[in-house]
Amino acid sequence: MTWIACELHTHTFHSDGRQSLNELALGAKALGFDCIALTDHNTMAGLARKEQIERETGLLIIPGMEWTTFFGHMVIIGVKDYQDWRRVGPGDIHAGLARVHEQGGLAGMAHPFRPGSPMCTGCFWEFEIRDWNEIDYIEVWSTTFAPVKKNNIRAYRLWTDKLNEGFRLAATSGRDWHLQERTDAPLSVTYLRIQEGEAPFTERAIEALSSGRVSVTLGPRLDLEVNVNGEVYQIGDAVKGSDERERLASVKVLADFTSRHEHWHLPEQSFTVSLKSNLGVLSEHAAMPEQLPLHTEISVQGLLWMRAELWGIIQGVRTLIAFTNAIYFD
């Protein structure tokens, strides 16, 4: 399997973006991305030259759209055809989710806590969710320098709350990228760990996101492995439960500081590597980059999920710099 750098929330002039798909693809490539999802507001017309632009730029493009409804914005990716949003009321989101899933696509809550009407109608998620199993992912980091923004901190907390309730859903970033402009603000990357194979790329990307093989960062790519009874589990996996289960697990936290390293800057520092779970903080260690990977042992008793977080200073602010998606415990 291979990690690929993705930007999963983008727009072109086919909605309110100020860029063509070709300009977007070239811009993404120049920033070290391997893949984008095109998520124009309520249209898929911008995908007309997708294959040609993929060939010419070498960037992979996942088809999608942003359901820009009056009651919430939902990014849907991997769908083949336009899905009508116009009849959807605040109690109807599950019908829309079913249509996305029937097409083999995935649905994510876009910037769920961005202020809503009248500043930005639908930007705040107001749909009633009766079954959280149908939500595939939450865009917990939206726009640039995402982890310091209050609405993103709230979205990250929502994701954590849902994991604590036993739901298994992914967390991603999305720049909500509308135009090519130079910025010094740290950019988020959603890494997906894709299976090799002959299947079309979109199918493999959707499978990776659906399986929670996701790591999100402003810089180094964080990874997590858990070894229980000699069996190694990775991000998105579920550790099998059994009566004879070892009470202890070996945990390895890895960070690849070479990934897209020319596109981000972190001052020399000692980072904090934290293991979070439904039981709270399992461990916390200070580590210089050369001290990673970090090995530790934890008890798995009572665990539903675990993720790794990397905290440190970026642009003078101490903040969350990277996080993995969860490893689950049956």
Binding site: H14, T43, F71, P118
Partner: protein, 157 residues
């Protein structure tokens, strides 16, 4: 020859926000190109006090308790408040896309060979068509709109 099929004007209020106005119209003959000229105004809510009231109400609704005071102190960062109406098109054969943009005036067209950004090419078939105006936000007391739809011959390709 340009044949005007719809020439409509309307006025909507904040109560119409989060609603759609559907203009369903009949094309008697197939072929050519469909033109749409849509305009609405005013675009912005100029009254600062009204804007402040709306923003503060929104902050009360969407912000967490401990962040409300700070957000209200910076209410101007959410201005200007804008009306937003977007256009989408459906032919008798199916959906032909949307022009989700903030411009208050849009000239759109569709034909078998080309379409405005956001819309997709499609045969101009005879039958019942729809142009939907989606009222995402109406913040001014009144917002006027006009919509002209016509069928015309397509320039030679």
């Amino acid at each position: 020859m340009k044949k005007v099929i719809v020439d409509a004007r309307g006025r909507v209020t904040p109560a119409s926000s989060k609603s759609h106005i559907i203009h369903r119209f009949f094309l008697a003959s197939a072929g050519g190109r469909l033109g749409i000229n849509f305009w609405y105004g005013p675009k912005q809510l100029e009254d600062l006090e009204k804007a402040r009231t709306l923003v503060e109400r929104s902050i009360d609704l969407y912000f967490e308790e401990e962040t409300i005071a700070q957000a209200k102190a910076h209410f101007k960062s959410y201005l200007p408040l804008n009306n937003l109406i977007t256009v989408s098109v459906d032919s008798p054969n199916g959906h032909l896309g949307a022009a989700h943009r903030h411009d208050p005036e849009q000239f759109l067209h569709i034909s078998r060979h080309e379409a405005s950004p956001g819309l997709v090419c499609g045969d101009i078939v005879a039958g019942m068509w729809e142009v939907t105006l989606s009222l995402h936000a109406i913040v001014t007391d009144y917002c006027e709109y006009s919509l002209q739809i016509w069928q015309e011959e397509e320039a030679a390709q």
